[in-house]
């Protein structure tokens, strides 16, 4: 059983919902990332989505764009992010780590090399924002060969036919984008999200996590009632931005936000 599957199976048995924090690798500098990941786990994170910085993050709002720029100022590459995961794995062999980013850095490394390096570093899955299933055959084959998951996005604008296809091709979990927009968008509508997800359950047995628009304990708790987990990114990255000049304070401060969400979800 993969780490991701084991994680969601255990949570289901305990009746718990996941909290999935997103941070960008190398933000605000490369030395922050591994201690930050450990702090997130300690605060109650179930899965970590680790962003691979890209020069042109087309699907991200200003908060994550700036995170990419900060990480790239330090030259953080895909290879560096893989090394961060390997270092994280020295102490933590159970928390699933999913890389999230754009396709081009993976293309340059090569699909097979990427899948092999990811496996060797202890990565569990990848979510490539700009690679819809229809363009994913090559990477899918490489990832399958290493028993790694590809996590796909589903959006409110996804047609029923394509949703079915995505549910069939995805593995690990599915990421439901709760709003029309980029990361860091306005607040989501929990009733609409709930209705969409219950529809979606007819197409899949995979866990469904919800991201975009989750800003605090209340929205995290509300979303977790209608899904299997809450994905939270921009609020955490905002906190990192505020502390960019005092990076030693970042892990505790960001973990504090996650802890509050954890408590709200579990309450």
């Amino acid at each position: 059983m993969s780490r991701i599957e084991a994680c969601f199976t255990a949570m289901k048995a305990e009746g718990r919902k996941a909290i999935v924090p997103y941070v960008t690798g190398g933000d605000s500098n490369p030395r922050v990332t591994v201690p930050l990941m450990h702090a997130l786990v300690e605060a109650g994170a179930d899965v970590i989505e680790l962003g691979v910085p890209f020069s042109d993050p087309m699907a991200d709002g200003p908060v994550i764009q700036l995170a990419c720029e900060r990480a790239l100022e330090h030259g953080t590459s895909l290879t560096d992010v893989l090394a961060m995961v390997a270092e994280f794995r020295e102490q933590d062999q159970t928390t699933p780590v999913v890389l999230m980013g754009y396709l081009n850095p993976i293309e340059v490394m090569g699909y097979e090399a990427f899948a092999k390096n990811a496996k060797a570093s202890g990565v569990d899955g990848v979510l490539v924002v700009d690679m819809p299933p229809i363009e994913s055959a090559g990477l899918m084959a490489a990832m399958k060969a290493e028993s790694l998951d590809i996590i796909f996005l589903i959006a409110p604008t996804t047609s029923p036919a394509r949703r079915k296809a995505i549910c069939e091709q995805g593995s690990g979990y599915l990421y439901y984008v709760s709003v029309k927009g980029v990361t860091g968008s306005k607040a989501l509508n929990v009733d609409e999200v709930g209705a969409y997800i219950s529809d979606m359950r007819q197409d899949t047995d995979l866990p469904i996590c919800v991201g975009f628009g989750i800003r605090d304990g209340q929205s995290a708790a509300a979303v977790s009632k209608v899904s299997d987990g809450a994905i939270v990114g921009s609020v955490l990255v905002n906190q990192i931005a505020e502390l960019a000049n005092t990076p030693e304070k970042i892990p505790a401060a960001v973990a504090g936000i996650v802890k509050e969400m954890r408590q709200a979800i579990d309450a």
Binding site: F54, S55, D56, P57, M58, A59, D60, G61, P62, Q65, E69, L72, S77, L78, T79, Y102, L103, N104, P105, I106, E107, V108, M109, V129, D130, M131, P132, I134, E135, F152, L153, I154, A155, T157, T158, S159, R162, I166, V177, K180, G181, V182, S185
Partner: protein, 404 residues
């Protein structure tokens, strides 16, 4: 020249691929909108009413057909092949861009979208979008890199006069690629009421296909005009390549005519060997950006790198996927012209023909002059003069040290 068969003319395939290039590499949030656009376009492109309205607008609003002009004094000065100019600079709004914006604005109208957005580099596409939006009564927002807002101040004010809102983009390199990122973000957010008018034959499927189809009027007219004026096809067609829309519009109707060389001219900036240029086909490698797989300028980690060109409209690190394909099958040739060569051609054409080209188009003129010298006087080169140079007067004045 390798043999070509008409399968190339029918590309892209149903998934938007030109060989290994093109495709639809976007976030799931945009897939629905692209599928809808493709479906509408496939239907309308076979609809006589739509075609009739498009042709009527090109004739009476844009002023087509644009002339094919024999540049006799330029030819004499250079010595060698005869140089003809396809006068897209004479179109309404001053460039080829309007052929495409007319087409896409009609799509927006048929789809009932009240709001259009566009990205722009030199501002020509922004102006053309603002123009058709004014004419159809659509709300229009134009995203433009902060650096280009500065370089193309005249066009910025033109867009404002036309009623469009120009939004300076401050992320990344503050040029065309970042404007395109920002327009995509707007589109994702406002997808229900907004039509995104992409300004070049690039981006996710179906854009490279539909922009090409709208621009093909350039090559079709050129073919006809060559038959009328010289009684045969030209030996070569030459066009500048930014994202590649004026070039593909000129090239595509000639793909099956193997005797016609097709030459795309990229921006060599300070020189391809310096790395400071915007010539991905000359010095890039395949990758994925802006929804397509194509030749890109990128570093060893897959990050897109900054480009340089004196002409804002060519300052783009990628290129339309069909050009990547035509390069790989060796049907078209791609070369680069440096800033100073383009500026010299700008002055030459202005002085000997009284035609002031856009700095983008001056790249094509410069290469045609180089080529013509090596060819015989009974040969013919057609240069796509994609736009007029009024917008560039301030840039040239600045280089001359003149304050306006």
């Amino acid at each position: 020249m390798p043999t070509t068969d008409n399968t190339q003319v029918q590309l892209p395939d149903e998934n938007g691929h030109f060989g290994q290039f093109g495709g639809r590499f976007v976030s799931e949030t945009l897939m629905g909108a692209l599928e809808e656009l493709e479906e509408v376009y496939r239907k309308l492109s076979n609809d006589p009413d739509f075609q009739e309205e498009f042709d009527k607008d090109l004739a009476h609003y844009v002023g087509r057909p644009s002339p094919l002009y024999f540049a006799e004094r330029l030819t004499d000065k250079v010595g060698g092949a005869k140089i003809y100019l396809k006068r897209e600079d004479l179109n309404h709004t001053g460039a080829h861009k309007v052929n495409n914006t007319i087409g896409q604005a009609l799509l927006a109208k048929f789809m009932g979208k009240p709001r259009v957005i566009a990205e722009t580099g030199a501002g020509q596409h922004g102006v053309a979008s603002a123009t058709v939006a004014a004419r159809l009564g659509l709300e229009c927002k134009v995203y433009m890199g902060e650096e280009d807002v500065r370089r193309q101040a005249l066009n910025v004010y033109r867009m404002k006069l036309l009623g469009a809102e120009v939004i300076p983009v401050t992320s990344g390199t503050k040029t065309l690629k970042d404007a395109m990122n920002e327009a995509m973000r707007d589109w994702v957010t406002n997808v229900d009421n907004t039509f995104y008018i992409i300004g070049t034959a690039a981006g996710p499927h179906p854009y490279p296909m539909l922009v090409r189809d709208f621009q093909c009027v350039i090559g079709r007219e050129t073919k006809q005009q060559c038959m009328n004026q010289i009684g045969r096809l030209p030996d070569a067609v030459v066009a500048c390549v930014g994202g590649g829309s004026n070039a593909i519009g000129m090239f595509h109707p000639f793909i099956e005519d193997e005797s016609v060389r097709m030459i795309g001219v990229e921006a060599g900036g300070h020189g391809v060997e310096t790395g400071e240029h915007a010539a991905p086909l000359s010095d890039g490698r395949p990758g994925v950006l802006h929804g397509m797989r194509t030749y890109l300028m990128e570093d060893d980690n897959g990050q897109i790198i900054g480009t340089h060109s004196v002409s804002a409209g060519l300052d783009y690190p990628g290129v339309g996927p069909e050009h990547s394909y035509l390069k790989d099958i060796n049907r078209a040739e791609y070369v680069a012209i440096n800033d100073d060569e383009a500026l010299e051609a700008f002055r030459t054409l202005t002085q000997v023909e009284g035609i002031m080209p856009a700095l983008e188009s001056a790249h094509a003129v410069a290469y045609a002059m180089k080529m013509a010298k090596e060819m015989s006087p009974d040969q013919v080169i057609v240069v796509n003069l994609s736009g007029r140079g009024d917008k560039d007067i301030l840039t040239v004045a600045e280089l001359d040290g003149i304050e306006m």
